[in-house]
Each structure stands twice: as structure tokens, then as C-alpha cells.
């Protein structure tokens, strides 16, 4: 309603409603402007202009009621000064006004107070919200020196009404006393006001629901540039700063774009809420998207496109502001001196100080001439655990667009080198990310910049999440728990780190991102010159990065099928360890509170269970203690049958020494009573003797055959012979534990099911089997002969398997120090174990330790093997050969070879 229309209606022009109407009209006109497509900054300028007039008019109305002398006196000795956002000349529809009423000491302060109170009341009644203060110049200066907030609002001081000379004096005194005489402190105050947690804070510039003004990358960052600019260059606006050389052309352009975009969004938020609202909440995002007319793309919703644009602007703004701040951040004299002392010249060009790697500007072309040189800078930074100094980063950033996108071998090696570091890796990667060097190495990373995941669960954009995941991972170095232990055990951490960088890179294509990620990982592995085996590790990790979390949190891991499928998919202990750490890092980087003890426990459980299956060993963090406990228990068991005279102390020590000769796996998985029995057997063992004991276990209806021998002629290849003999005698091998002591004593335990007998087999049967075992070990007969002799008529070899998990043979040369671990997943069939064992024997390998287990009709076999020299097989070609031979042999078996074993 306008003044005219009110009068036309015939109502007396009531003062208050007129004022309200004026304010409402102003906002309505602004809205009309905005809706018609005017740029945000133009609307803000319009509002500012109109509000200025309104403020002055209303104030003059109040003054009109005073005596003329009072009026004149006030006009000469006071001023109304717009400060803060109001002073900047940009207003959003419902933000508070910031006014300062300045008066000189000579004015009667009582007069001022009453006039101001009345005026403020009028403003409030009219619908203008404001904050105001009544001060002398001296007051302002004193307060500004002690409170950074007040200081920064005063930078924007602009006269609205009243004495010009008073205003000028304010500006000059402010300049002299608050800024010039304490410039260092002033700049630090500005920085502290903007970054209360320090400007290397981990807060991302991409929150789920950003505050357009206050979040990192919000409008406050622009203000920061103004404040520092004013302090250093006496210029506040972007153009003047550019002319002064403080901002590059490119930066100035980006700032202006960000300013426009953010202001536009802010105005929209205010109009939509009808009040001050700066937070771009999830509810508002789709609405703003629609208002701005943003369209969806084939792979992204409209709101995601909008938020990606938003984050692009806000992260650029945040970066420019941070760099601006870093460049102008005053160094304490002491620090500069220390820097000089501590800094030393690395590679004769690089200077390494507490601030970071620095280079004299005349060397910039040299250190930035190609990809390798720039990567060397980052590697040096990683080595010294520092960052690159701001000006070197700038130089790198400027040089990156000139690169041709080819990654030479040397560069790939340097990058992988960098990825081997742990503690400094997070910061280094951020540096590579900000200068866009990362995009040269991994072009697919460009796609996930600022890519938003529009749901409550993911707190960060994909790029931010990825960088955080790496940081979370490297922090596990100091973790005392199971994740830390697993991380410490990983030998090729660079593969894990690379997998983390790539794990979500497949997002935003509309297809399941683990699949897309695998394809991308394949390409990147090639690009970075990763050979087959390490490359495969990275690809597998990326492809399977969701599995462990899914199984741990959503499935029942006490169900053997679930566990089996998982271990089948993972395949080796080495990969399992890496997947464990990757999962923990991924969940931890999703957002605050995503990683809880609740989740940690479930994930740890799955890790332990899977580790037992894949490596046969319990992943004890306190292995030593357990061993000592076992030694004590064995000693106790032995004491029962020991002669009285021998001293208990010595006995226990000798027990410990003897147990040290056994593999730890044997000690932790065999009951102490049995260990004691084994020790006694070994004590009484003759040099050529092959000791065979059989024990029936009624609750499982199985028989355990325990073979212990120290006869070196026999121990060679005894595993496959035993397996063959048992199978030939129609025994189904359900489980086997093979152990070899350091003295060459073999302890092989086979748990078998005797197909011919429903309950305990009679002694003759056991005798006969035992005889066959001895015969075959001594060479008196062969496995083939046993098969021939024991073949039955009409045996059916074609039993169809229940589960459909495919055959897998995996070789892990990383997890164990001196043995190669072979994991086999296959359908259970008579003769399978014998086939595997014989193949291993024929390859010239000896089995030190084995754990065979059958789950339904799936066999999971773990073998720890060594070569002829007693050491593990590690060369990639031999590992490959091992895998291929085993696969071939199992394939033949599967396809028809099993018929030979039809019993």
C-alpha cells in the first residue's frame, strides 16, 4: 500500500502505518526486481539505497519534534554512520541494520540519548530491525582496539546523516590508531574473527546445509578480503584490490561471480522465509533450485546440479580467501628469524623451514617446469612433514594448466612414493587437490569435485569425503586398537591409500559406483604403471569397498554361508586387512558421529572371524600373552605325569622352550591337554618312528587321526600322501591341521568321517587305516595303488554341488613374513585335498602349516608354503605360475578328474 492509496481510501494517514507501509513497499519493490531477474547485487544495492533514505527520513521526522536550536546543535555535532553490512552498501531484505550514532564530546549526551531512543523505537515499529550504538570517536577507537568484531564493522563506516567532519575524523582516527599503529595485530584480529579455530581448521567448505554468510566459503570470506585489503592496501573493493596487485585477474573474476551467486541465494532465502534466514537448509535447496531455473542432467538431479554450483563458488571463495589471508598473515619477527636459522637448502633450491617448503621466486620456472619436478616438491614436503609455502603453491597452480596430461613413468613412481607416507599424506593430498595436480594424475577426480550426495547420511561432498578418508586412515597409525594393528601390518600402504582416493570416484554416473569405480581403477592402475598384482589389489579394494561394511552391519556373521561368501570374495588375509582399514576410514569420514563403538565392534568381529578362515590364525593383538597362558596350561597338564623329583621351575622353562619350536597357530588352536599329549609322544619318539593315534569324537561322529613323526625321509611330501591315503580308504576329510616344528617334527591332524560306519568304527578298521597311512609314508605302497585296491563298484561320482560359489585360488605373498599363503575355495569332492596337496608338492613347495575346513559343500583351504630354500615364494612370476598351475589342476579335477577318485 502506498501513501497515496491510503489517502485515497480516506483514512487519516496514520504515522505508524505509513511507515510500515513504506518499509513493506520497499521490500515489495525489491522482490519485484529480484523476481524479474535482476542480479542479486543490484537488488542488494537497491535495498541499501532505499533503506538509507528511509533511515534518514525517519530520523528527521523525530528531529522535527525538537526545538530548532537542538536540531541545529545535533546536526553539527552528531552523525549517523552506517557500519558493518549496512555500511558496505549491500543489504538483504530482512537482515539487521547496523547503525552507529557518533557524537562529539561537546554535545549534551542526554539530548542524544532521548532522540536516539525515539528514533530507534520508530525504526523498530516500522519493521526495520537494527543494532545501534551511541559513541564518541574515542569510545570507538578504544573498543575497536580491544574487540575485533567492532573493529571490522567500523572498517565499513559510511556517513548517512549529520556532520561530515565528524565522520571524517572517525575514519582518520580509526585508520591511524586502530590499523596503522598496530597493523600486525589488526590483521591477526581480523583473521581470528573469521577463523576462530585457526585458518588451517579442518572445517570443510562444503557442509550439508551451509550458512550462506558465516560458513567457510560464505560471504564472510569476501568481507575478510575487504578488511585485510583495507589494512594493507587502503582499498576495500575487488577492483581496487586488483589494481593494486593484491588479487589476480582470475581471482577477481571468481570473487565477483561467487559474490553474485551467494548474494542471490541469500536474498532468495530471505524472501522465501519472510525473515532473516541465512542457512541453505535441505528443505530450501530444492526450492531455490527451482527458482533459479536450474535443470537436471541425465545423471544428476536439479538440486544436485545447483548444490554443485554452490559448492564450486563457495570452495573457490574459501580458497582465495585462505590464500589471501596466508599471504598477508604477518609473521612474527621471532618466527622469521627461526625460519632463517632452521631452514636449510635441500636440493640447493628448496628451502625447508617450519612454514613449509619454500623456493625463491626466480627458481619458480625450474621447479614447476614439468610434472616430475612439481611432484618432487610435494615429495620433499612429505619427507619433511610440512606443506608447500603459499607462494610456491600459487606457482604450481599457475603451472598446472600448461601440462599436457601425460603421466611419464618417473612421475607415476614419484606419486606412488608420496603415497607411501602416512602422517603428512592428508595435507599433501589436499595440496595436490587444490593446485589441481591431482587431476593430472587422476583425471577422473575432476568429476567428483564438489559433487554432492544429496542425503542426510553423507555430510560432505565426494571430494571432501575422499580427502577426509585418507586423513582418517593415516591417523590410524596412532590407534592402539585392532584397526591400528591391522594398519601397521600392511606392507604396501600406498596401495591402500590409492584405493581410498579412488573408492568413491565412480559416484555420479547413475550406475552402482563400486562397478564404475572398478573400471576407473583399472584405467588408473595402467596410467600409474602399476603392474598386475599390486594393480589388482587396488582394483579389488575399490570394487569391494562396500562389502565389509554391508556384511558387518546388516548381516548375521554367525551364519556360515554369509561368512563364507564374504571370505570367498575377499580371498587373502592381505586384502582383508586392507579392506578392514579402508572400511573403518570410509565410515569415519562420512560425517561426525558416523563411526561409533557400536560399529567398530561389529566390524572388528567380522574381521576376526574372516581372518581365522583366511589365514587359519586368530588375529590376536596380544599374541604373546596367549602363548604364555598356553605354556602354563600345558605345563600343568604335563606335571600330572611328571616324576616327583624334577624341579617345577625348570620344567616350565623347558616347556616354554619346547613350545617355542611350534608355530603359534598350532599353540592357539590345539587344546593344552592335547599339546601335552603330543609333547609326551615326541619325547618317546624313535628316530624312524611314525606315530599314528586315532581318536573317535562321538559328538561329531568323526575320527581324528594324529600323525607325528620326525623321520626326515618321510616328512617330505607327507601331507599329500596322507591326504591321498585317507581319501583312498573312503574317508571324507572334513578338517586338517598341519604343523611343522623348527626341529623338523611333523604334527598332522586329520578329522575324518568314515563313510562305511554310522557310529564308532571298530578297532580293526582303525588299525587297517593306520597301517595304510604308515605304508604310504614309508613308501611301501602308493596312493594310486590304494585307490585301485579300494575302488567300489557302482560308486556315483556325479554329486551335484549345493552352493554356486566359483572356484578361487589366491596367493598372498604379503601377509606372512617367511611363508606364502595359498587360499583355495572349491567344491568339496573326494580327492580334492589330495589333488591340491599333490600339485603343491609337485611344484617343489613344502607345506608348513595348513588348515582345511569344510562348510556345507564348500572347502576353504589355507596352506602356508615355502620353496626349496625354506623361504617364501614372492617373485611375481613364480606367484603367478603357482596360481595358474593350481587353477589348471583344479579345473581338470572339476571337469572330470574327480572320477578317478570315485570311491
Amino acid at each position: 500500500m502506498t501513501v497515496e492509496s491510503l489517502e485515497a481510501v480516506g483514512r487519516p494517514a496514520d504515522g505508524l502505518s505509513l511507515k510500515k507501509a513504506r518499509v513493506a513497499e520497499m521490500r515489495a519493490r525489491a522482490k519485484a526486481l529480484f523476481d524479474s531477474g535482476a542480479p542479486g547485487v543490484a537488488v542488494a544495492a537497491f535495498l541499501s539505497e532505499q533503506t538509507d533514505k528511509l533511515v534518514v527520513d525517519l530520523f528527521e521526522e523525530v528531529l522535527a519534534s525538537r526545538a530548532p536550536e537542538v536540531r541545529e546543535g545535533l546536526k553539527a555535532n552528531t552523525a549517523i554512520v552506517a557500519v558493518g553490512g549496512t555500511g558496505r552498501g549491500e543489504l538483504v531484505p530482512f537482515s539487521d541494520l547496523d547503525l552507529l550514532v557518533l557524537y562529539s564530546g561537546r554535545t549534551h549526551s542526554h539530548e542524544i540519548q532521548t532522540v536516539v531512543s525515539e528514533a530507534v523505537q520508530t525504526y523498530w515499529d516500522a519493521g526495520l530491525k537494527l543494532g545501534h550504538a551511541v559513541r564518541t570517536i574515542a569510545d570507538c577507537v578504544t573498543l575497536a582496539r580491544s574487540d575485533p568484531q567492532i573493529a571490522t564493522t567500523l572498517i565499513e563506516a559510511r556517513r548517512l546523516w549529520g556532520s561530515e567532519s565528524l565522520c571524517d575524523r572517525l575514519v582518520r582516527q580509526f585508520r591511524r590508531k586502530v590499523i596503522d599503529s598496530r597493523k600486525r595485530q589488526f590483521i591477526l584480529d581480523c583473521l581470528n574473527a573469521r577463523y576462530p579455530d585457526g585458518d588451517d581448521a579442518n572445517a570443510p567448505s562444503q557442509e550439508l546445509e551451509p550458512d550462506v554468510k558465516a560458513s567457510l566459503g560464505g560471504l564472510r570470506d569476501l568481507h575478510l578480503i575487504r578488511w585485510i585489503g583495507y589494512a594493507v592496501y587502503q582499498a576495500k573493493d575487488i577492483d581496487s584490490l586488483r589494481l593494486n596487485g593484491a588479487l589476480s585477474l582470475e581471482d577477481a573474476r571468481r570473487l565477483r561471480e561467487a559474490w553474485e551467486f551467494l548474494t542471490h541465494v541469500r536474498i532468495d532465502l530471505h524472501f522465501a522465509a519472510g525473515k532473516a534466514q541465512d542457512r541453505l537448509s535441505l528443505v530450501n535447496q530444492p526450492r531455490t533450485t527451482e527458482k533459479m531455473g536450474i535443470q537436471p542432467t541425465p545423471t544428476q538431479r536439479a538440486v544436485e546440479v545447483f548444490m554443485q554450483q554452490y559448492f564450486r563458488h563457495s570452495s573457490e571463495l574459501a580458497q582465495i580467501a585462505k590464500r589471501f589471508a596466508a599471504v598477508h598473515r604477518p609473521e612474527s619477527l621471532y618466527r622469521q628469524f627461526a625460519d632463517f636459522l632452521v631452514g636449510h637448502r635441500a636440493e640447493r633450491i628448496l628451502r625447508v623451514g617450519p612454514q613449509g617448503i619454500d623456493v625463491a621466486p626466480r627458481h619458480f620456472p625450474k621447479v614447476c617446469k614439468d610434472l616430475e619436478s612439481m611432484l618432487r616438491l610435494y615429495r620433499a614436503a612429505a619427507m619433511y612433514g610440512v606443506k608447500l609455502s603459499p607462494r610456491v603453491s600459487e606457482a604450481v597452480k599457475a603451472a598446472v594448466p600448461k601440462l599436457d596430461g601425460v603421466v611419464p613413468e618417473e612421475a607415476a613412481k614419484l606419486f606412488l612414493d608420496i603415497l607411501r607416507f602416512t602422517r603428512p599424506l592428508g595435507a599433501i593430498l589436499r595440496g595436490l587437490f587444490e593446485t589441481r595436480l591431482l587431476d593430472i594424475l587422476i583425471p577422473d577426480f575432476t568429476h567428483v569435485r564438489n559433487l554432492m550426495q544429496f542425503n542426510q547420511y553423507h555430510h560432505f561432498t565426494v571430494d571432501e569425503h575422499t580427502l577426509r578418508a585418507v586423513e582418517t586412515c593415516t591417523r590410524f597409525e596412532n590407534d592402539p586398537g585392532p584397526v591400528g594393528a591391522a594398519y601397521a601390518n600392511i606392507k604396501h600402504k600406498e596401495l591402500l591409500h590409492l584405493a581410498i582416493i579412488l573408492h568413491d570416484i565412480g559416484k555420479g554416473f547413475g550406475r552402482p559406483h563400486a562397478e564404475v569405480g572398478r573400471e576407473i581403477a583399472q584405467r588408473i592402475a595402467q596410467r600409474l604403471d602399476l603392474t598386475a598384482s599390486p594393480g589388482e589389489v587396488v582394483i579389488q579394494l575399490v570394487h569391494k569397498h562396500l562389502e565389509m561394511a554391508h556384511i558387518a552391519f546388516r548381516r548375521d556373521i554367525t551364519d556360515p554361508q554369509t561368512l563364507l561368501q564374504f571370505t570367498h570374495s575377499v580371498g587373502t588375509p592381505d586384502l582383508l586387512q586392507m579392506l578392514f582399514v579402508l572400511t573403518a576410514a570410509d565410515v569415519g569420514a562420512v560425517g561426525p558421529g558416523a563411526w561409533t563403538d557400536w560399529k567398530a565392534e561389529l566390524l572388528n568381529d567380522l574381521f576376526n572371524e574372516a581372518m581365522v578362515i583366511l589365514s587359519g590364525k586368530h588375529y590376536g593383538v596380544h599374541e604373546q600373552e596367549r602363548l604364555r597362558t598356553v605354556a602354563r596350561q600345558v605345563d600343568a597338564a604335563l606335571a600330572a605325569s611328571r616324576p616327583e623329583s624334577t624341579a617345577a621351575e625348570d620344567q616350565r622353562e623347558s616347556v616354554e622352550r619346547r613350545l617355542a619350536a611350534f608355530p603359534s597357530y598350532y599353540l592357539t588352536s590345539t587344546p593344552p591337554a592335547k599339546i601335552a599329549a603330543d609333547l609326551r609322544t615326541i619325547d618317546a619318539l624313535g628316530p624312524d618312528e611314525i606315530n599314528v593315534r586315532a581318536a573317535y569324537q562321538p559328538d561329531t561322529a568323526t575320527v581324528e587321526y594324529r600323525i607325528i613323526t620326525a623321520n626326515s625321509a618321510v616328512t617330505q611330501g607327507c601331507f599329500h600322501k596322507l591326504a591321498g591315503a585317507l581319501t583312498a580308504r573312503r574317508l571324507e576329510i572334513l578338517a586338517a591341521d598341519i604343523a611343522t616344528t623348527t626341529h623338523g617334527v611333523v604334527v598332522d591332524a586329520f578329522r575324518v568321517h568314515d563313510r562305511d560306519y554310522v557310529s564308532e568304527p571298530p578297532p580293526e578298521r582303525v588299525e587297517s587305516i593306520t597301517g595304510s597311512l604308515r605304508d604310504v609314508l614309508c613308501g611301501r605302497t602308493t596312493v594310486e595303488a590304494l585307490f585301485l585296491r579300494n575302488r567300489r563298484f557302482g560308486a556315483d561320482p556325479t554329486r551335484k554341488p549345493f552352493s554356486d560359489l566359483p572356484l578361487r585360488v589366491l596367493v598372498d605373498a604379503e601377509s606372512s613374513e617367511n611363508r606364502t599363503i595359498i587360499d583355495v575355495f572349491a567344491h568339496d569332492r573326494p580327492g580334492l585335498l589330495f589333488t591340491i596337496a599333490r600339485t603343491i608338492f609337485e611344484l617343489g613347495l613344502s607345506v608348513d602349516l595348513a588348515k582345511i575346513a569344510t562348510h556345507f559343500d564348500q572347502v576353504v583351504d589355507v596352506f602356508y608354503v615355502t620353496g626349496n630354500d625354506g623361504r617364501k615364494v614372492a617373485e611375481p612370476e613364480r606367484v603367478q605360475q603357482l596360481r595358474d598351475t593350481l587353477c589348471r589342476s583344479l579345473d581338470e579335477f572339476d571337469r572330470g578328474g574327480f572320477r578317478n577318485f570315485a570311491v
Binding site: F553, R555, D556, T596, W598, K599, E601, L602
Partner: protein
């Protein structure tokens, strides 16, 4: 109106949720909790040391229904969450004084 609180196995959440929503019971609150019942947990090893861990990870489900629907809801939750083994969980039913929908101000049965 009654409030139903169910403590169930963590991997049964999907099943229970689907069973409830299939029968038109929506409006669930879920929290990750830890607990134990009469058997006081059953784990033997934790972080390499051997001792009994009392608190196992569970999920707590809360849903509000009108009185006539209580038995039905309980039946749905029970059958979806049951495995027959120790650790299946428990359901608690308590009377509810009032329910209000914040957005509209509706109360009582209309707000469920």
C-alpha cells in the same frame, strides 16, 4: 495409544522394518544400542584378551500404535525378528499419554 519398544538383533532391522511397513505401520524410530539379557553376552575374546563382554550391539525400535493394533504389531515384530537362538531380544509395551504432530498441531490418534 501405546508405545512399543523392541530390542532386536542388528541384522534383523531390515526384515522388521519391511514387515511393519508392509502392514501399514509406519513411523519408526531406530537407535543403535548395546545390551545383554540373561545369558550376559557370550563372547570369549575381545582385543586379544579373554574375558566376557557383557554388552552386545543391538538395535532399538520404537513405534506408537493405537490400542487395538498393539497385538498385531507385536506379532509382526516378533516373527520378523525371531531366529530361535539366544539373543533374539525383547519387546516392551507402555501406555502413552499424548502424541502431537509438530507441523500441524494434531494430537491423539490423528497424530499417529
Amino acid at each position: 495409544m501405546k508405545k512399543i519398544e523392541a530390542i532386536i538383533r542388528h541384522y534383523k532391522l531390515e526384515d522388521v522394518k519391511n514387515a511393519l511397513t508392509a502392514k501399514g505401520i509406519v513411523g519408526l524410530t531406530v537407535s543403535e544400542v548395546r545390551g545383554f539379557g540373561r545369558q550376559r553376552g557370550h563372547k570369549e575374546q575381545y582385543r586379544g584378551a579373554e574375558y566376557t563382554v557383557d554388552f552386545l550391539p543391538k538395535v532399538k525400535l520404537e513405534v506408537v500404535v493405537n490400542e487395538p493394533d498393539v497385538n498385531n504389531a507385536v506379532e509382526i515384530i516378533s516373527s520378523a525378528a525371531r531366529t530361535g537362538k539366544v539373543g533374539d531380544g525383547k519387546i516392551f509395551i507402555s501406555p502413552l499419554e499424548q502424541v502431537i504432530r509438530i507441523r500441524t498441531g494434531e494430537s491423539g490418534a490423528d497424530a499417529i
